[in-house]
Symmetry: C2
Subunit: 420 residues, 2 copies
């Protein structure tokens, strides 16, 4: 392992990992600022800002940003999450300095040209339309709203169309000023990279930034509830969540093993019971999502209007019996899937840079694979069953439905079935 | 480069590439059999068969297939295309023999248990529903129908629901007997692999197969036309296609460069004109797809009902002006994107195994990256403009629309605009 971490004088962290044999690298900036850092009237601004980063700076037009990276065969993109915004590029080794310069330029010096803001507003409104036409994606936004009603972490990333229509240059500048401080930035790079070179370039690009006053962040509180959007789609898209551990909670490993055993692969309980034995869906899965102070154990499936009641009851029955009969074989399989998945996922520079950035944001360091594997291996069957028991007995639950959902059961009934 | 190719006595080919530094491997079977090999009454059977492969064999139940691979942390999956069906797994190095054994078992010895056929029928009908709820996916099926009406290559992979409801064991066995002959199989592996071991295992698993009588395949004929599915979605999903080169046509490199320059990245013409300057969409792209005897130059965008006319006319205007004003800068950028994309894409075992399999199917060998790069570099600006000219002056064109498309222009009008 050749992970190296440095901290600039202003608190910005830099983490790299050289991967022998690679001719390309992934380099990116992960900023601890996202949807949950927005005030209610700002909802959608973190994402709008991410779009505007690509629309020109003091030194580059929007077209130049695209051309400089694509001229050398590179790729640049970004995403906005609830706690994190990321700007990242994949380039050949020789072009790492260019990629870093472009990323610094677009994040630190966006021009916020007024006509570009107008054009991008249209793009984002189209993006919202596209999201609504992607039921198995948008449903997770609604599930989040149902889990955290009225809270910053529960709001959508894209923002409501009426707010998107209202944002101006001042809204963008305010969000940058409040949240893009050096102590919230982690620059991560993996693949064909030279740590010293990257630190030097980062210091030149980001070293002048001064720390921002500390921010107050609302603590998330899983409350639960139901969001139901009736629409004449082919399937009822069903998502439900129970409160899971946050990413620093020691329970996170049990939660991930649970998600894998319940809905992580073809051998998982939900896949076997709902799809393989009864043919009630094509897609079904469980996943353990985590934030700084909360988490979501989420289950998704898409099914026909005729089958939604049966499917949702089957899901509940599986949640209910898991604490009593999860087996050692399932624990071992889930462990092996997580360990191999980690190893195989990290054979590429992009996923490796992303993991480094997230680890440094969460822990201030990058635990080795061996350390993570040790924690996965330490989870016992009684830990796993105890976790399953706590999960099933949690009072709050959230559910989202999208499609011909008129006949779908209410959350209350499902909760009663779970508690029965 | 450590690509090695062997051919068994029965004609089956085996191609491997050892990648130093990797601890995992991708291994898969690529079969030259897919939707276009179905007779009209068989439409959907290739895909149904791919599903049934996972539903049990003489030696393993469906659950055992899943468990054996997932017990060791591996991953197994499959897909059905118009010319190819693939079964592939990603596993740690020590488990390559297991993966190969499972793949051989499920493709050669599927049990076709009658009750499993009934369950899987339900799963596939759910999959069809899910596809219809994924407009930016299903629209390419309809574009294919519009381009090749009434032809095997124009039919959907999933099949019509009424046919899916009708298939039985005999239909599955017939398709295997007709198309899964050893001369149509390529076993490919990349990553932590040992060529000799794989050849030996492949000979044991597949060496007993005897070649099938040669098949007659309908020649595809791009005819063109329009498919319009009105539905109250948020966006009108628009896809159009012109006839492109097949994958052995020397023009394929010019076609790929054209697709990249027109709609391959943020700097491409369509992205700049439609999204960046006017904000009319979130997603827009062009791609050059190729088959053995034909190809499709495809453009996709999603937009609002108000903007579909403007957007489709802009697309046509870009197709019309490209022959006259594509530049050397665009040619060079597209070349660099293709070359770097090729290199970066092939840094992972899964994409590398897939490329090897496809190359061996098409060429009987695996051209080196240098050879492919040479062909990309050989395309001149006049080649590119001449290709753009032929494309724009092709008579047939196909279009598919999904969503609130009542006000969208007819294909005829767009063709007239292109010819003007």
């Amino acid at each position: 392992m050749t992970v190296r971490i440095d901290t600039l004088g202003n608190g910005m962290r830099i983490v790299t990992e050289a991967m022998p044999g690679f001719e390309s690298a992934s380099v990116g900036l992960w900023i601890n600022a996202g949807g949950r850092h927005e005030r209610v009237e700002q909802n959608g601004i973190a994402h709008f800002l991410e779009h505007m980063a690509f629309k020109g700076t003091a030194r580059r037009s929007a077209l130049q940003i695209a051309e400089e990276i694509e001229d050398v065969g590179g790729y640049i993109n970004a995403y906005t999450g609830r706690e994190m915004t990321a700007y990242y590029a994949r380039v050949l080794a020789a072009d790492v300095p260019l990629a870093l310069d472009v990323i610094a330029d677009i994040t630190l010096e966006p021009a916020f040209d007024l006509s570009e803001i107008e054009v991008e507003r249209g793009v984002i409104l189209q993006e919202i339309g596209q999201a609504l036409d992607t039921p198995d994606d948008i449903i997770f936004d609604w599930l989040q709203e149902a889990a955290f009603p009225g809270q910053p972490i529960g709001r959508t990333i894209l923002g409501a169309p009426e707010l998107v229509r209202s944002f101006g240059r001042g809204d963008l500048s305010t969000f940058v000023a409040e949240h893009y401080g050096p102590e919230h930035l982690v620059l991560a790079a993996a693949g064909a990279v030279d740590h010293e070179q990257i630190v030097k370039l980062a210091d030149k690009a980001f070293g002048h930034l001064t720390p921002r006053p500390s921010r107050i962040q609302d603590a998330a509180q899983f409350q639960g509830g139901e969001v139901r959007e009736n629409k004449p789609l082919e399937q009822v898209h069903f998502a439900m969540a129970l409160e899971g551990p946050n990413y620093r909670d020691p329970d996170i490993y049990a939660a991930q093993i649970y998600a894998s055993a319940m809905g992580g692969g073809m051998s998982s309980r939900l896949f076997q019971e709902v799809r393989e034995k009864r043919g009630l869906c094509y897609s079904i899965f469980a996943q353990a999502g985590a934030y700084g102070d909360t988490g979501l154990m989420t289950i998704y499936a898409g099914t026909s209007a005729d089958d939604i009641t049966g499917l949702s009851e089957l899901v509940i029955d599986e949640l209910r019996r898991a604490p009593d009969d999860l087996t050692d074989a399932e624990l071992n399989r889930a462990r092996n899937q997580m360990k191999a998945g980690l190893l195989m996922g990290l054979e590429g520079p992009s996923s490796r840079a992303e993991r480094l950035a997230r680890m440094v944001h969460i822990w201030g360091r990058a635990p080795s694979l061996a350390e993570t594997v040790g924690k996965i291996d330490a989870v016992t069957l009684s830990d796993l069953r105890a976790f399953a028991q706590r999960l099933a007995s949690e009072a709050p639950a959230a559910m989202a439905l999208y499609g011909p959902a008129e006949g779908a059961p209410a959350l209350m009934g499902l909760k009663e079935r779970l508690a029965a």
